[in-house]
Amino acid sequence: MIGLPHYILLSAVIFSIGVYGVLTRRNAIAVLMSVELMLNAVNINFVAANKFMNDAAAVGQLFSVFIIVVAAAEIAVGLALVISIYQQRKSVDLNDFNLLKW
């Protein structure tokens, strides 16, 4: 029988893969994709928790819809920033963006 802990475990694994991607990938687009992975892991959590904890009030599903919408806005801004920085430096490699350092 698959219960809430299985879903939480799954989403924790996907979230960790996303974190790993953010930390290791050097391409700005790939990093943004890893962030999406993290957000989608959160969505799995919310929808599963909604089903098992409080089925009548669809708060969890509502939250995941909000997350999808806001993430779309975030990625739109993110890709715009990537394009504008690509036009300046002809690169989307994060290792090349090192003007700001302590």
Binding site: F15, V70, G78, Q88, R89, L100, W102
Partner: protein, 472 residues
């Protein structure tokens, strides 16, 4: 449910959209009119929100709370926004035809902060947070031809998105264990479970990033240095205060006192101590005033966190009081830095050399604001730190107050380093640094508020006392 109680938020939303649309529709000459309109609109809304201060209501079964705690922070965000708009005057001309969008996005960021401070559950909190940060991503990268600005924008976006995801994962765990996102219901359903504990720790991590607490502070200096100075100012005073408003509400309503077996205040105390020590020590070696103020703002976040750790009436009053005076002291310092950057094009300490001979007024204001940040009496920073540390001592965190005091003394060194350059340093150029009317007004407001609130902190602290009543 009386919609008129939401008038402040509705007006800010309308003003922001109106400024965005008018800025697009009008020709270049009309844009200055739009910019004036944005500023006047903000002042009008501030005046209205003062009259609406004591309103109290709960919307949509507690999803959105109108109370004095929220009203206090709304006053703070609006005054910060107005001061930043005033002092940005000359800097804005760099944006050429895009200046109206700059104002529009700033107003929308203010709206996001307001939603954060009044949210009664996590969805509203999240939407407000993202409205604020997405506006700030764009504003940080606003100098399109400037390499630093574009880089800062991209870095802020990536780190901000990761921190939001961490915060959300924490919220989802809390939701999975309690079955609700309402703060009051979470408090009722709170039981000691490992998953719930992990959720709370992740929420702390997410908030710690937003208020730049060590070890989640790495983004702050880079973004503060790269962003246009007015946005750096607004980030450091506005977005940080909004983070604290949300943090205080979440912890005091949802998590505090629900289960005494997990003492989260110890965790926050360690974070606060680390933040104060590391922020101040790294600031000692900075050669760029923007970067120095960035590290100083990390240290200041640590001081404010001391009040959240204390979580008693003194400490929380200190949080609100300090957040407000920090607006004035920090905006004053940044306004002088803006004037110097517009004049010289640089923000290194050497650009400030001999400022006392060029513009004695600016040098004096910078020194007063810096002394207030360092917490020297009779400036307002002293009164603020007194509340914060007194709260910590009352609650048994004497060691934290001692660390705070010692590090405040250390901070005097780098704050006065700037003053030393201004008063002793030499500069071949001895023409005065020009300021616009707007930034002169902003400077005077900042310096007068810093001194007056230091000499006579009574009224503001009384106001803060009313504001925290709903949390006690």
């Amino acid at each position: 449910m009386d919609i008129s109680l939401l008038l402040t938020e509705i007006m800010v939303a309308l003003l922001g959209l109106l400024v965005l649309v008018l800025g697009l529709a009008l020709p270049a000459r009309g844009k200055t009119v739009v910019n004036r309109f944005a500023l006047l609109g903000m002042i009008a809304i501030l005046a209205y929100s003062i009259t609406a201060f004591s309103q109290k209501a709960s919307f949509f079964n507690g999803v959105y709370q109108i109370d004095m705690f929220g009203s206090y922070f709304k006053l703070l965000f609006l005054s910060a926004g107005i001061l930043v708009m005033l002092m940005a005057g000359k800097y804005i001309s760099r944006f050429e035809e895009k200046s109206s969008e700059f104002y529009g996005l700033m107003i929308l960021a203010t709206l996001g902060m307001m939603l954060m401070s009044s949210a009664g559950e996590f969805i509203t909190l999240y939407v407000g947070l993202e409205l604020m940060t997405i506006s700030f991503y764009i504003l940080t990268a606003y100098l399109q031809n400037d390499k630093l600005s574009a880089e800062a924008g991209l870095k802020y976006l990536i780190l901000g998105a990761v921190s939001s995801a961490i915060l959300l994962f924490g919220i989802s765990l809390v939701y999975a264990m309690t079955g609700t996102t309402m703060f009051t219901e979470i408090a009722a359903a709170f039981t000691m479970q490992p998953a719930l504990l992990a959720g709370v720790v992740l929420i702390i991590a997410g908030f710690a990033f937003k208020i730049s607490v060590v070890p989640f502070h790495m983004w702050t200096p880079d973004i503060y240095q790269g962003a246009p100075i007015p946005i750096t100012t607004y980030l450091s005073v506005g977005s940080k205060a909004a983070g604290f408003a949300a943090l205080v509400r979440v912890f005091m309503v949802a998590i505090n006192g629900a289960d005494a077996s997990f003492d989260w205040s110890m965790l926050l105390a360690i974070l606060a101590a680390l933040t104060i020590i590391i922020g101040n020590l790294i600031a000692l070696s900075q050669k760029d005033v923007k970067r120095l103020l960035a590290y100083s703002s990390i240290a200041q976040a640590g001081y404010i966190l001391v009040g959240v750790v204390a979580a008693n009436s003194f400490g929380l009053k200190g949080v609100l009081f300090y957040a407000m005076i920090y607006v004035f002291a920090n905006t004053g310092a940044f306004a002088v830095a803006t004037a110097v950057e517009v004049d010289t094009g640089k923000t290194g300490i050497e650009a400030f050399a001999g400022l006392s001979k060029r513009s004695p007024m600016l040098a004096a204001i910078m020194t007063i604001c810096m002394l207030s940040l360092a917490g020297i009496p009779p400036m307002a920073g002293f009164a603020g730190k007194f509340y914060l540390f007194a709260g910590a001592v009352q609650n048994g965190y004497l060691w934290l107050a001692v660390i705070g005091l010692i590090m405040s003394m250390v901070s005097v060194y780098y704050y006065l380093g700037v003053s030393k350059a201004m008063y002793i340093g030499e500069n071949e150029n001895d023409s005065p640094v020009l300021t616009t009317g707007g930034s002169t007004v902003a400077l005077w407001i900042c310096v007068l508020a810093t001194i007056l609130l230091g000499v006579y902190p009574g009224p503001l602290s009384e106001l803060a006392g009313y504001a925290i009543q709903i949390l006690m």
